[in-house]
């Protein structure tokens, strides 16, 4: 049987249903339940044999684990958001009316992301990404505060321009495919595009890739296209920040990497590596330096997301089995880690009633479990062992250096800069004398623990199937 219809169907159905649920508690439960259902059916992908590609959707080594990952994080985020939203209601920052909308949109968002991942058609993928953008835009503006509206507006404008450019790139890809495949839907279908890629028109493909890189790169928050990202993360509700950082950026990267595959398959097209490396390094450096002066804890980690997108882009730009493996691993683990971090800082900012770093001092002293989870998460995200990201950074740095020493050194400097910035802030947040007023912790840390456990295991031992997927994709990526 084919699990895909279910995977896409559940969120859609839930979205429709939630649009009519007015009580926010029930809504939250339904939301979490639906996400759980989606996750469970997505697990079917692992057990059943991979379904044949259809016109709409397909599954291959690349997106299978991304689908599972996405549905999993979407589930934990929904779980976390239940507690989080309840607290927001109590503090009166949100009204039940908002929440009805919020929950429905949440499901639409997860539907859009899953569709973008599984879409077998570059047009559909593009549409899905646009849908995801619009939903997140309205989610970011949920609080209706001036800053949130501004953030949403900024996000919306930059996002739509990006979308437009991405569409143009898509058209150009179709155009490039024309020569080999003639008119018709085939020329938009991933599964057939890969087969024919070697015969595409390289020049058009190059131009197309530039537009796609800029377009989807905007969604992925690569510098200098990143401007929307920090504010959107900082002003929206935390579960959405978690989903944005954890999933939506991945989706955008997924699109870029897919198109890179086409170029890699085509001999005459220019190697996209240098472009990716340039974008990635600029993201790494700029984001890393921006970390030093952040005062808003959510914006801080938003910039760290940009930095990691940069690292991943560099990895894919380097290419080669090791670097690609590192990039894929980093992609998966970053989404797990970053979402966990956003859960913790969401709880922290609720417990302290502020997002200002100065006022969240001595977290380990005031809320030990929360504080140490944040420390663990930050250690993990900055690539410290025994967490998984250490492995990917190890592979990336040590495999880059012998091939391009200068690049390796640059990578070292960039990583160290970002590390310094993040740790500087962490020392302020987690340690030191704690504030007097210590509100009890609301919401559960179990999702955080789950994520941390996963990345811990990944750091020590990677399951066989995952490795084989990564390796096969690393091969195709060239």
């Amino acid at each position: 049987m084919n699990a895909l219809p279910l995977i896409l169907g559940f969120p859609l159905a839930a979205a429709v249903a939630l649009a009519f649920v007015s009580d926010h508690r029930i809504g939250a439960r339904v939301n979490a339940g639906a996400s759980l259902a989606t996750f469970t059916v997505s697990l079917l992908l692992l057990v059943l044999e991979t379904p044949e590609p259809t016109q709409i959707a397909f599954i291959d080594d690349f997106n299978i684990y991304l689908v599972v990952l996405t549905s999993f994080v979407a589930f934990t985020a929904a779980w976390f958001s239940a507690g989080y939203i309840a607290h927001e209601i109590e503090t009166g920052r949100l009204t039940p009316a908002h929440l009805r909308f919020y929950h429905a949109m949440y499901q639409v968002l997860s539907f859009a992301m899953l569709l973008a991942l599984t879409a077998n058609n570059i047009g559909v993928m593009w549409a899905a990404v646009e849908l995801a953008t619009l939903t997140t835009v309205v989610m970011v503006s949920l609080y209706r505060t001036r800053p949130s509206l501004e953030a949403a507006w900024k996000y919306f404008i930059l996002g739509s321009v990006g979308i437009a450019l991405a569409l143009f790139g898509t058209i150009l890809v179709y155009l490039a495919a024309q020569k080999a495949m003639g008119p018709g839907m085939e020329a938009l279908t991933w599964s057939s595009l890969f087969a024919e890629a070697p015969n595409f028109e390289p020049e058009l493909l190059n131009v197309a890739f530039v537009f796609l890189l800029i377009g989807y790169g905007t969604k992925a928050g690569l510098v200098p296209l990143h401007a929307w990202l920090p504010d959107a993360h900082a002003e929206g509700p935390t579960p959405i920040s978690a989903v944005l950082s954890g999933l939506l950026l991945n989706v955008a990267l997924y699109a870029i990497v897919r198109f890179k595959m086409l170029l890699a398959a085509n001999g005459d097209a220019l190697a996209p590596g240098p472009l990716l490396i340039a974008m990635g390094l600029s993201s790494l450096f700029v984001a890393g330096l921006m970390l030093y002066r952040r005062r808003d804890i959510k914006r801080l980690f938003a910039y760290s997301s940009i930095e990691h997108m940069g690292v991943i882009t560099v990895a894919f730009g380097m290419g080669g089995p090791l670097a690609n493996f590192a990039g894929l691993l980093h992609m998966a683990l970053h989404s797990l880690t970053k979402s966990a971090i956003f859960y913790t800082i969401g709880l922290a900012s609720q417990a302290r009633g502020t997002q200002q770093v100065e006022q969240i001092r001595g977290l380990t002293a005031s809320h030990p479990a929360l504080g140490w989870s944040l420390v663990a998460g930050t250690a993990a995200i900055s690539g410290l062992p025994p967490f998984g990201l250490f492995m990917s950074e190890f592979l990336l740095v040590s495999s880059t250096f012998p091939r391009a020493p200068v690049l390796g050194v640059l990578l070292l400097i960039g990583l160290l800069t970002a590390f310094g910035g993040l740790m500087l802030r962490l020392h302020g947040i987690a340690f030191g004398e704690a504030e007097r007023d210590r509100r009890p912790l609301v919401g559960s840390l179990i999702p955080v623990y789950a994520h941390l456990l996963l990345i811990l295991i990944a750091g020590v031992f990677l399951p066989g199937p995952l490795v084989s997927w990564f390796q096969s994709i690393a091969e195709v990526l060239g």
Partner: protein
């Protein structure tokens, strides 16, 4: 380069679209901008219709209709309303001088041509020239967005960018989903217009952020 486009009507329309783009760049008065843009939209509609006819692809008529109705008529009218309602001063405020932007536009066109020249065009796909035109229209639309201050001109820039897209899309033989995409885009544009109404924005991308700096001052240090 305009000499190359002679016989094929699609080239004609393409050229008209590009010219309209330049016209938008050139205008100093908002209403003029709107009119120039309307012309561009109409030109796009004509191009779409012509392609629909020549490719026997009836669905492209829908695209043409959308282009004509929404961008050719509805949007200009709505924007005109906004101009009167919010009595935005009628002159275009430029971030970069008119002349400079014109030059930049020419430069972009050259870039587009450079990019397209090496393409060995293949069977019955749209010709190099049309592709070049579409590319330059997209770039010029973008240019308009970043060199003009008024909300109106910026929306117009966005829409003309999208005109370029449509031009390319309809040009390609048998391009599927064109209609869906233009619909999706109309959604975006609707959103933006709504936003302008909602925020009563005089200057789409500038003033708002002056306030936003206020609110993010927490980040300063």
């Amino acid at each position: 380069m305009f000499a190359t486009l002679a016989y094929d009507l699609s080239h004609m329309t393409g050229a008209m679209v590009l010219l309209a783009g330049f016209a938008v760049l050139y205008q100093r008065r908002l209403l003029g901008v709107l009119r120039a843009f309307a012309c561009q939209a109409v030109a796009v509609a004509v191009a779409a219709a012509w392609q629909a006819y020549s490719q026997e692809a009836p669905h492209l008529y829908v695209t043409a209709a959308i282009a004509l109705l929404l961008k050719g008529i509805a949007a200009p009218v709505a924007l005109d309303r906004i101009v009167r309602r919010l009595d935005i001063h009628r002159t275009v405020e430029t971030a970069v001088g008119i002349g400079a932007t014109m030059l930049a536009g020419v430069g972009l066109v050259v870039l587009a041509v450079l990019l397209v020249l090496p393409v060995t065009i293949s069977s019955a796909a749209l010709t190099r020239e049309t592709l070049a035109v579409a590319l330059s229209v997209v770039l010029i639309g973008f240019l308009i967005m970043i060199t003009r201050r008024n909300a109106i001109t910026q929306v117009v820039g966005f829409m003309s960018l999208e005109n370029g897209l449509v031009l390319a899309a309809v040009g390609v033989k048998g391009m599927p989903l064109v209609v869906e995409m233009s619909v999706a885009f109309s959604l975006l544009i609707a959103f933006i217009l709504f936003g302008i109404f909602f925020f009563r924005i005089r200057e789409l991308f500038d003033t708002l952020d002056l306030q936003s700096i206020e609110s993010f001052r927490g980040e300063r240090r």
